[in-house]
């Protein structure tokens, strides 16, 4: 189909194309600047930066393993708690709930996403941490001997951080999962009903069809949990530790950056912090990229079979 292009159209295309390019350029510049500023520690420590556990700015020893451990542990645990809840919300809103309460319910879940991180942190310090401390102290002795529940019950620690992250991740994951479920063509559900499926089995069929998109939604939540700073630093205890114990205070990459960056005067200390920022940036970029790709592939394949049959009919 030929398109008549006026100069106005061309200008518009160039203008908006430029805006799109600017965004890519900014990401590229961030990556470049982070690498440039972290060169001193990259040259001094190399790969040992990722393997050593000692973080000692006074002695000039920098090992980032506790932060990577803390970030991954808290995010994965948060996801393990949040994913079933978020999926449950998505399935309920998309499939089961009456139309009348659908919109208020959606509104309320999205409201959780609008609360600023530091407000979560304050709520965590005053409400969640005492509750978690009470839970930890009331745990029976036989469970306390397991390594995952070992250590004094302080309240602040990995468990509080994972819980608060889970609460923050639920709205994102549930809203994307809900959209993905809505994009499942009705023919899937109708086909299931036609074959004699119950309501639950039809929902399972829809979930199976939407599995890549739901995985994308979960990974999007993971990306959010990785970068959370203020809420986590207020409840995690800020002690660099590599331990499986849920009660022990630990440290994440975002938290150490928020805490130490403004006072770091020593160039090596600054460079070590920037290198942690670089790692966080890379991990978050990869996770978000993968999740977007998964969601797009899901949306494409929803239209895919229809296009295939149409081209087949046209060729015949």
């Amino acid at each position: 189909m030929p398109q008549t292009r006026t100069s106005g159209d061309l200008g518009f295309r160039i203008g908006t194309g430029l805006f799109g390019f600017v965004v890519i350029a900014i990401v590229g510049m961030i990556a470049f600047e982070l690498t440039r500023q972290s060169l001193p520690t990259i040259q001094k420590f190399g790969l040992n930066f990722w393997r050593t556990q000692t973080w000692d700015p006074i002695a000039g020893q920098f090992g980032a393993l506790p932060f990577i451990w803390g970030t991954l542990y808290s995010s994965i645990l948060a996801l393990a708690i949040a994913a079933p809840i978020a999926l449950g919300i998505a399935v309920f809103i998309a499939e089961l709930c009456p139309a009348r309460i659908q919109r208020p319910l959606v509104f309320l879940t999205e409201l959780l996403a609008a609360i600023p991180s530091i407000v979560y942190g304050l709520w965590g310090v005053f409400v969640l941490v005492p509750a978690v401390r009470a839970l930890e102290t009331s745990m029976p002795e036989v469970l306390r001997r397991l390594p995952i529940f070992s250590g004094p019950a302080r309240g602040v620690g990995m468990l509080s951080a994972a819980l608060i992250l889970a609460i923050m991740v639920v709205p994102f994951t549930s809203s994307v999962a809900r959209e993905v479920l809505k994009s499942v063509p009705n023919t899937q559900r109708e086909g299931a009903y036609a074959l004699g499926a119950t309501r639950l089995e039809a929902i399972r069929a829809a979930l199976f069809y939407a599995r890549t998109g739901i995985l994308g939604a979960v990974m999007l939540g993971f990306g959010r949990a990785l970068g959370e700073t203020m809420a986590v630093t207020m409840v995690i205890g800020n002690d660099p530790n590599v331990t499986a114990s849920l009660f022990a205070p630990q440290y994440t990459m975002a938290a150490v950056l928020a805490n130490e960056f403004s006072e770091a005067a020593d160039p090596l200390h600054l460079s070590a912090l920037v290198e942690i920022g670089l790692v966080l940036f890379t991990i978050t970029l990869i996770v978000n990229l993968l999740s977007r790709l998964l969601i797009w592939s899901m949306a494409r394949s929803a239209r895919g079979p229809a296009v295939a049959t149409a081209t087949q009919a046209a060729a015949a």
């Binding site: 000692d56 302080r154 207020m234 800020n238 002690d239 205070p249 130490e260 005067a265």
Partner: protein, 341 residues
């Protein structure tokens, strides 16, 4: 429509020009959070006396303050830990340290059902923060507090998670009273803490201590007073148990007057003297000897003269101790060396 736009633009321009014309001098500074309350009060009072001068201070931390004055993005800096020789060499010009007030760092604690005031000694505090003393009914604590009934609760050490001048003062003291601390951890703004949980800022530490039963932490005196957290006396070099007050902090500085180095970079923790509080410190304002903007320099020198004189009267109300007269005299002599033209 067009005329409305013109009128609005005209009003905005007039407003901006008006405010710009009013401020003959706008001076920017940044640095320590430790003296932030008294500096805010000072800059506010000074502005009331000189309405055409506005001094803007951002409490971003001592390290950031040192970085910013070295790169000359601010006119003056503020720090709780004096600049090291390497940092001074890295600056493009000579920087003077001016002590402004004295502050104290106190050990705060929260033990359920214990209302009595607990006494601490330097070595005991070091052992607690090293993680060697883990329960409140440990014999080391009981020895100093014969009358108190101490429960078998775990001690939760609370320290700063962010780099801090308050931390610097605390670990400087611990290193002087405990050789083990000096070797194992050292002195700096972001030490590798052997034990405990971290809170962000003095507020974070106060919050964690008040919320966690069995916690012990360290905060500036004003935070303990305003949040009504229990804090105990600390044994000084002369063997006396002294609680942090304006008088005991000033006493700690008085001894230092005699041995004050010419650049004022001195630590007064663990000061000699019967009534000295051992965890006291100066806090310094940093100025270039020969700054580029001489007009701003003139204003700052005038401000410093006021701060070292009448300004000291405001210190006690905010929990800081005023400088001893001997120190003020020496500082005014150094102030005279700052170029104003």
């Amino acid at each position: 429509m067009k005329s409305k736009l013109l009128v609005t633009t005209g009003c905005v321009v007039a407003l901006v020009a008006g405010t710009a014309a009013q401020q003959r001098a706008l001076i920017n500074g940044a640095g320590a959070t430790f003296p932030n309350p008294i500096y805010s009060k000072w800059f506010d009072e000074y502005h009331k006396m000189h309405p055409d001068v506005a001094i803007n201070y951002q409490s971003v931390g001592s390290g950031a303050g040192i970085r910013q004055i070295t790169s000359q993005t601010v006119f003056f800096g503020a720090t709780d830990g004096p600049m090291t020789s390497e940092q001074l060499l890295a600056a493009p010009g000579k920087i003077f340290h001016f002590p402004t007030v004295l502050g104290a760092v106190v050990p705060v604690y929260n033990i359920p059902n214990v209302r009595a005031e607990l006494k601490f000694s330097g070595p005991l505090l070091a052992d607690i923060f090293l993680g060697k003393v883990t329960k409140w009914n440990d014999p080391a604590i009981a020895k100093l507090n014969a009358g108190a009934t101490l429960p078998a609760t775990d001690i939760t050490v609370v320290h700063r998670s962010d780099g801090s001048g308050t931390t610097y003062i605390w670990v400087d003291y611990l290193a002087k009273v405990s050789p083990e601390w000096k070797n194992k951890v050292g002195v700096g703004q972001s030490p590798n803490w052997p034990a405990g949980i971290g809170g962000k800022g003095n507020e974070g530490v106060s919050g964690l201590v008040t919320q966690t039963p069995g916690a012990i932490g360290y905060v500036e005196l004003i935070y303990a007073l305003q949040n009504k957290i229990s804090y105990g006396p600390v044994q000084n070099m002369a063997g006396e148990f002294v609680k942090a007050t304006v008088e005991s902090v000033t006493a700690a500085a008085a001894e230092a007057v005699a041995k004050m180095p010419p650049d004022f970079r001195v630590s007064i923790t663990n000061a000699p003297g019967k009534s000295a509080y051992p965890i006291s410190s100066f806090t310094w304002l940093l100025l270039y000897e020969n700054p580029k903007d001489k007009a701003q320099s003139k204003v700052m020198v005038d401000f410093m003269k006021w701060a070292l004189g009448d300004g000291q009267k405001l210190a006690a109300g905010l929990g800081y101790a005023p400088l001893p007269d001997g120190v003020v005299k020496l500082e005014l002599a150094q102030l005279a060396k700052v170029k104003v033209s």
